[in-house]
């Protein structure tokens, strides 16, 4: 168990140190997979289904194989191991077999001397299809006449929560409101598209480099698809140009294709998706429909929440069940409510399989519950701020799953509400905006939510992480961890934690790219978990190393190890504050006495649980608490919404590096604003994606991005490294409802479907009841 020390004086943790990878990224030295070359390397191109649903009658690859310069053409028949991508279930093939279930599903792949040649050869593969009726769209897939896609009557999975008695709750209420909310797909639009480079080894082994969040997922996939034992597969993460969830499960698909080709060709194979291909077939945020019914007293207290949450999972289960689970347990928001009933379902459709995206099934339900809180405030004639304060969870309260919130978890919800509203000038702006005339009107809106940090009960078995620290005899320190840097700043934060714990200068520390041969399976880099789990694993390893150092110092100085502490690059006697040795001298002393200055650290997250029958359980070990305030200007005649300012208060326990924390808030806010106001994936009637470039799939530019005021609230989590929780996802998550609530404040009109694009806002302003 990790020694808990939240209140020690720290010299590196909490500092705004420069990112450890800033120079390599800024100068272009960082090696992305497209920068990597191996002798004899081939390039891959993939043939993808032109139909949303079709029987594959035959595949003739002979003409493609005959193209000079082509070394391998592979279909499902060429898979040496299992043609199944294991995520939650085993339903998704790496290469389609008898049926293609979505537009863009992989059918066959070519490896050739150049990318152009591979792309050409792909056009020579002849596939006979028989087009089948397709289930396109969540509601369509649930119709009686809908074609069968998967699961039980096109439902992959259901979850429920039953707490108290909602009928009784509604009876006791003074007001009951009920609405339907619709949320769209969202594309990650990472700067670097997905890709992998598979390099066959000399003993039948395979090494794969790639852009990814979860090297161990890729390890399992490559081992499965090649039928190789895991010790013959090595995954090395390349510099990764953004993930946001979009490189959680799908890099396994990409790596598996590259590996099968490399295996057949006997040469390294690089497969990098074009932007169009990446948009068409890689994962997205689930479109959702959320119906919520809320009951409350005149005074604002919630008496009952009943919700129905459905997501469009796409053609295969992939991560959908866990995404659905996370949404289910967050649908009641950060509010005290004795009676909660939630039913949730992941619906199978003949569309691209949706997966992880920053927030993982939660932004959809936050949009719903935060729109409802404003509706309730409006109907009761209350200030939206007040109704949130009245219902906000406090220490000792239960969440919708019956989990009691404790001080030890770190509970700063009320402080986020107060600081975000004060900093944004909530009271005075609301007053100022209450009576406006004219073509442009300003509004202010807020959202408040909680977010479970880590995998929670949905992924309890993976909630552990390893780390390796090696101290060299010149006192330099090398770190290896099992979670991944994808631009979020993990390497920097973990270097700070390791340096702090070892008491060595930060300059002594370097950290390698994640490599599955260096560290045991540490689970995925998702769920805002890296700082907590890898940070704690590093502390565990650091403590083992310190034991060796202290023993050596003790021998030389005659001071017992128990009174030693490491800080500011040296070891001190805690009792009299005297420096005993610098870190370098201690390392020297320890190597001279043959101490083992390398260690593996291991961290197991506290247990979490979830009862499938009633949805009760202590589902996360801690929560991040957030309040976001948006200020907008609405053009009443065009429906255009300009987000002018965002004030975002996050209780993240402890900011290991405030600058990186603020960066997360600014970037995530921008993605949240895109989700709320402009991002949309469009399909034609046959289920073919139309928005296949970043000139048709709109994401915000720097000109669209508002000023963001980040507020760091620190209520330490006892088990977190130096009190830290997680911040990776929350910055995005409540922006959409904060914006639409601000639109309502400006115009008086609720927006219940996002994105709040001008066409939709204008229709609402003109009184068209859209939902």
């Amino acid at each position: 168990m990790i020694e808990r020390q939240v209140s020690v004086v720290m010299s590196i943790v909490g500092e705004r140190v420069v990112r450890v990878d800033a120079a390599e990224k800024a100068t272009g030295r960082a090696k992305f997979i497209d920068d990597m070359k191996f002798p004899g390397m081939l390039h891959a191109s993939v043939l993808r289904s032109p139909y949303a649903h079709a029987k594959i009658l035959s595949i003739d690859k002979s003409e493609a194989e005959a193209v000079p310069g082509v070394y391998a053409v592979c279909t499902h028949e060429d898979v040496p191991g299992k043609n199944r991508h294991h995520v939650v279930t085993d339903d998704q093939p790496f290469f389609a077999e008898d049926v293609a279930r979505h537009y863009g599903e992989a059918i066959a792949a070519v490896a050739a001397e150049t990318r152009e040649l591979a792309e050409y050869a792909v056009t020579k593969i002849k596939v006979e299809y028989e087009e089948l009726p397709a289930a396109l769209g969540l509601e369509n897939a649930l119709l009686d006449e809908a074609p069968y896609v998967g699961g039980e009557e096109n439902i992959f999975r259901r979850y429920k929560i039953r707490k108290g008695d909602v009928d009784k709750g509604f009876d006791e209420s003074d007001i009951v409101i009920e609405h339907k909310f619709v949320t769209p797909y969202q594309e990650h639009a990472y700067l670097e598209t997905n890709g992998a480079l598979a390099v066959p080894g000399s003993v039948g082994d395979m090494t794969v480099y790639g852009t990814m969040q979860c090297p161990f997922y890729v390890l399992h996939a490559v081992s499965d698809v090649l039928g190789l034992p895991q010790n013959m597969v090595r995954i090395i993460q390349a510099a990764t140009g953004g993930g946001f969830g979009g490189k959680e499960d799908v890099p396994s698909l990409v790596a598996a294709i590259a590996a099968v080709l490399a295996c057949k060709a006997g040469r390294p194979v690089k497969y990098i998706l074009s932007r169009e291909e990446d948009l068409i077939c890689m994962s997205k945020r689930h479109p959702a429909i959320v119906r919520i019914k809320m009951g409350a007293k005149k005074t604002g207290e919630l008496t009952a929440i009943e919700a129905d949450y459905k997501v469009n999972a796409g053609a295969y289960v992939t991560l959908s069940t866990i995404v659905l689970w996370r949404g289910t347990v967050h649908v009641a928001g950060p509010y005290r409510c004795p009676n909660v009933k939630v039913d949730a379902a992941a619906v199978a459709t003949n569309m691209v399989p949706c997966g992880a995206y920053r927030g993982f099934g939660t932004p959809q339900v936050i949009f719903a519950h935060e729109s409802m809180m404003d509706e309730l405030a409006f109907r009761l004639g209350m200030d939206p701020l007040e109704i949130r304060k009245i219902n906000a969870l406090c220490v000792g309260d239960e969440t919708s799953t019956g989990q009691v919130i404790t001080e030890e978890m770190g509970m700063g919800l009320m402080e986020t509400i107060e600081r975000a509203s004060e900093e944004s000038g909530w009271a005075e702006k609301r007053k100022k905006y209450s009576n406006q005339e004219g073509e442009t009107r300003k509004g202010i809106g807020m959202s408040t939510f909680l977010y479970g940090v880590g995998l929670g009960a949905g992924g309890n078995y993976m909630a552990r992480a390893g780390a390796h620290i090696q101290v060299y005899d010149d006192a330099s320190v090398l770190l290896a961890v099992g979670t991944a840097e994808m631009g979020q700043g993990m390497k920097t934060v973990l270097s700070q934690i390791a340096a702090e714990e070892l008491g060595c200068p930060l300059e002594n520390v370097s950290i390698i790219m994640t490599d599955t041969s260096h560290v045991p399976d540490s689970g995925p880099t998702v769920a805002s978990r890296s700082t907590v789990v890898s940070g704690n694993a590093l502390r565990d390893a650091a403590m083992k190393i310190k034991a060796g150092l202290y023993a050596a110092v003790s021998k030389k100085k005659g001071v017992p190890p128990e009174v030693m502490e490491s800080r500011d690059g040296a070891i001190y006697n805690r009792e009299n504050g005297k420096m005993l040795m610098t870190f370098g001298e201690a390392v020297n002393a320890a190597t001279g006495t043959r101490k083992h200055l390398a260690a593996q650290g291991w961290y197991i997250s506290p247990n979490t649980d979830f009862n499938e029958e009633d949805g009760h359980g202590n589902i996360y070990f801690t929560y991040t608490w957030v309040t976001q305030v948006a200020e907008v200007e609405v053009d009443m005649r065009t429906g255009q919404v300009t987000v002018e300012h965002l004030t975002c208060a996050h209780d993240i326990g402890r900011a290991i590096n405030p600058t990186l924390m603020e960066g997360q808030i600014q970037g995530g806010s921008s993605q949240g604003m895109g989700y709320g106001t402009m991002e949309e994936i469009l399909y034609d009637k046959k289920g073919r994606m139309l928005t296949t470039s970043l000139s048709t799939y709109m994401i915000p530019t720097i000109q669209d991005m508002p000023d963001v005021t980040p507020i760091i609230v620190e209520h330490p989590y006892k088990e977190g490294p130096y009190g830290a929780k997680g911040v990776g996802e929350t910055p995005l998550m409540g922006i959409a409802p904060a914006v639409t609530n601000a639109i309502r404040s400006a115009t008086g009109v609720p927006i219940r479907e996002i994105p709040a694009k001008p066409e939709r806002v204008l229709k609402s302003l003109e009184g068209e009841e859209i939902l």
Partner: protein, 284 residues
């Protein structure tokens, strides 16, 4: 990959000489902001690209006495900043300043914007309001025609094989007022959903020389002749502004597409018309 052989030429005769020895697809490369994207998206066949960006005579903005001449290689940035354009074609400098992004404005040219023939072309929409003549040259010789006669549909023009757009000219009007307004899916780097250019003069409160063009609401940029006629010689006041906003909605034939809807576009022509008139009324 782009399948193109790129050859740089220094003069129009040299361009024609290189072109004459070539059969098969030929494109002239200026700023490349459309051509390169189309080629990368495989919308173009393998072709010979003649890079005309170094041809001196296609550059520059000149005062020719009664008219202003704009070389086809003039960039959007240059257009947006040039004092002659600001003075005699404020709608054009306004439009040029709103094209794409700074990078696109620095490379993209007015000749390319016209040759691309997008019905949403921002500079083209502004040029429509200036009585613009487009100048072309092919191996058989030069010709000039009213800009409106140049475009025949989305991406389609009357350009003959091997013909080069050499420039544009428009008559100078003292006291020119004008503006360009567009609605996009975001603030920048967005193709217009609907756009409107207005050029006019205002004498003792009355509108003259009124030219209005609409972008992205028909297969080509179009004029709004009913509105132009209705506004001519009228006193610019609130009721006239409101009337024009209603009338112009009868002058376009937009479609639903990825960027917007027919109904929204139609309605927005009215809003943009009113706002454009308000802008010229408050001219400084």
């Amino acid at each position: 990959m782009i399948q193109a052989v790129v050859k740089r030429v220094k003069s129009i005769p040299e361009a024609f000489e290189k072109a004459s020895g070539h059969s098969g697809p030929l494109y002239y490369l200026a700023g490349g902001t459309d051509l390169v994207c189309k080629a990368k998206d495989r919308l173009l066949p393998p072709a010979l690209w003649l890079d005309i960006s170094g041809i001196e005579e296609l550059t520059g903005i000149k005062d020719e006495g009664d008219s202003i001449h704009i070389g086809s290689l003039v960039t959007h940035t240059a257009l947006s900043e040039h004092p002659l354009i600001k003075k005699y074609a404020p709608a054009l400098s306004d439009a040029a300043s709103q094209v794409g992004s700074p990078q696109i404005r620095n490379r993209g040219t007015i000749g390319g914007n016209s040759g691309n023939a997008s019905p949403a072309g921002d500079c083209v929409t502004a040029l429509y309001t200036l009585d613009t003549t487009i100048h072309l040259e092919c191996p058989a010789g030069p010709r000039s025609l009213p800009l409106e006669k140049f475009f025949t549909g989305p991406g389609k023009t009357v350009c003959k094989e091997k013909e080069i757009i050499t420039g544009f000219s428009f008559p100078k009007k003292e006291g020119a007022r004008g503006c360009f307004l567009k609605l996009g899916q975001r603030k920048t780097l967005a193709i217009s959903k609907v756009s409107l250019a207005l050029s006019c003069t205002l004498e003792v409160g009355r509108l003259h020389d009124v030219k209005i063009a609409l972008g992205a609401v028909a297969p080509t940029v179009i004029h709004a002749p009913r509105c132009e006629e209705m506004l001519a010689g009228k006193e610019l006041n609130d009721s006239l502004i409101a009337e024009s906003g209603t009338l112009i909605q009868t002058e376009s034939c937009p479609i639903d597409d990825l960027r917007s809807t027919e109904g929204y576009r139609c309605k927005m022509t009215g809003v943009l018309m009113e706002r454009a008139l308000k802008k010229v009324a408050l001219w400084k």
